[in-house]
């Protein structure tokens, strides 16, 4: 009984501690433009933004933008995972293959993603394909690099130990190399997803007629400032949700790892 109360109090305390800074931030956002310290034309109070958000949701336009953005992000990102993970595994496992393709990969990797966007538009047009391609290109590298390093940095003692049990190469790969590189691959995927989201917004701002990036830039052009902030808020929330979902997945996939609390 006592224990439950204590636990309840500690949850409450954690909750308050965790959200206090957000509450202060929102309070300042409301207060500063209302009092006039910040020009409310450039930063409307949070209540105004919230109202705009509700209006956009009820009219249905926001949902469409969110869905199209998510669709692009997902396609580009999923394609990157599908290519980068197998390629990274091959490169990590076959040293000769890595040495062969690495120079090209290094060159592409160090080319700014957005610098290539005009090229993508040139080839793929202004439609969905060019956006998916640019997202793919952006998300590919972190996943690829992490997968390669995951495969390459398997503890040699584990390989030795497995070899001493007369395992086949296929077994060694499936049961030792792959599971031990999962954490590295998972964090590559998480980084890839967050980069994909950043590039998505930029790409939608440069050349799109829909999506959250377009919504932000278009609201700004038309001086619909509360709507602009509403779209930014949605983007932040999406980023948070995706990141937490991936962190959760990563934890699920690496449940055998000791949790380090610093």
């Amino acid at each position: 009984m006592d224990k439950n109360i204590f636990r309840g109090i500690s949850y409450l305390r954690d909750g308050v501690q965790g959200s206090l800074i957000i509450v202060i931030f929102l309070a300042l956002w409301e207060l500063l433009p209302t009092v006039g310290i910040i020009d409310r034309v450039f930063l409307p109070p949070v209540s105004e933004v919230a109202m705009a958000l509700v209006k956009m949701i009820s009219s249905g336009s926001l949902i469409d933008h969110i869905l199209i953005s998510l669709q692009r992000a997902f396609l580009g990102f999923a394609l990157a995972v599908l290519v980068a993970v197998p390629l990274g595994i091959l490169m990590g496992w076959y040293k000769l293959f890595e040495r062969f393709v690495d120079p090209l990969i290094q060159a592409f990797r160090n080319t700014s993603t957005l610098a290539l966007y005009p090229v993508f538009i040139l080839f793929l047009g202004i439609g969905e394909a060019s956006k998916i391609a640019i997202l793919f290109k952006a998300a590919l590298w972190p996943i690829l690099i992490n997968t390669i390093s995951g495969v390459k940095t398997v503890d040699p003692l584990l390989i030795k130990s497995a070899r001493s049990m007369a395992v086949s190469n296929v077994f060694l790969f499936r049961k030792v190399v792959l599971p031990s590189s999962i954490p590295s691959i998972a964090s590559g995927i998480r980084i890839g997803a967050s980069i994909a989201l950043v590039v998505l917004v930029a790409a939608e701002m440069i050349g799109a007629k829909s999506g959250l990036g377009f919504l932000i830039i278009n609201s700004q052009y038309n001086f619909m400032i509360p709507e602009m902030y509403a779209a930014i808020v949605i983007l932040v929330l999406l980023g948070l949700i995706i990141n937490y979902a991936l962190v959760w997945l990563e934890k699920k996939a690496t449940g055998w790892k000791e949790e380090i609390n610093i």
Binding site: L157, K160, A166, F171, K175, S180, G255
Partner: protein, 256 residues
């Protein structure tokens, strides 16, 4: 070259310990016998047949446990069986038997990070025993453990050895450990390692911790081996100090 002209014969069912100064190639010898390192020359025979790579007639236990962190204790013990196509239900039963032999039945569902060093090494021993090899190769298996755990595991290993009748080659840098465990102790020279001599240990079995270690015979064998090892340690130390003096000369020159 780490090893040179090593000639060692181990009898079936024997507990052979191998001591020598650090870096004399003891661990490499284990790797070669285990078949995971190819020697530049020479041959290893088991029952008259030359070995050709790793096989399930030999099991290795490493100092660093080498447990697969994503597998539970039970799944770790199953590894060798799984790799060689034993069906799930059968290997699980075998693994449970060996986990209970090392006293860890209650921990079969734990991941390695949830186990202490001593427990991890027990799991590793169970894993090496699970596919029933004739020979157990142990490379300083208790080297990373604290003194108390080490002594407990020594006694347990002797029990397991008496129950399972394995041939054991046990590398250690502890002379006490070698004398307490082994039928014979092989002493290696400093690099390149050669077998310097083999000392018989005629202490009665079953050996019990305090009784055996406090007996005068124990002290005598221990002293004999210590004398043999001492010169070799001195030799390998000399090499180190020579290298250091060369470095300090260089440092002076650079300084001037």
């Amino acid at each position: 070259m780490a090893l040179n002209n090593v000639n060692l014969e181990i009898r079936k069912g024997e507990f052979m310990a191998l001591v020598g100064p650090s870096g004399c190639g003891k661990s490499i010898l284990i790797d070669i016998v285990g078949g995971i390192t190819q020697p530049n020359g020479g041959k290893i025979y088991i029952d008259g047949k030359p070995i050709n790579g790793p096989a399930l007639d030999r099991g290795i236990v490493f100092q660093g446990y080498a447990l697969f962190p994503w597998r539970t204790a039970l799944e770790n013990v199953e590894f060798g069986l799984e790799a060689n196509g034993i069906p799930k239900s059968e290997r699980s039963a075998v693994a449970k038997k060996y986990l209970s032999l090392v006293g860890l039945s209650a921990f079969e569902g734990r991941y390695p990070y949830e186990l202490s060093g001593g427990m991890k090494q027990r799991v590793a021993i169970a894993r090496a025993l699970a596919y029933d090899p004739d020979i157990l190769l142990m490379d300083e298996p208790f080297g990373a453990l604290d003194a108390q755990t080490r002594e407990i595991l020594q006694v347990e290993l002797l029990k397991i050895w008496e129950e399972t009748h394995k041939t054991i080659l046990f590398v250690t840098h502890s002379i006490d450990e070698a004398v307490f465990l082994a039928d014979r102790v092989a002493v290696m020279t400093a690099r390149p390692g050669v077998i310097k001599s083999i000392v018989n240990v005629y202490l009665p079995r079953p050996r019990l911790d305090e009784e055996t270690k406090s007996s005068p015979e124990f002290a005598k064998v221990r002293y004999d081996i210590w004398r043999l090892v001492k010169d070799e340690v001195a030799k390998s130390q000399q090499e180190v100090s020579y290298e250091m003096s060369v470095q300090s000369d260089l440092a002076e020159k650079v300084g001037a």
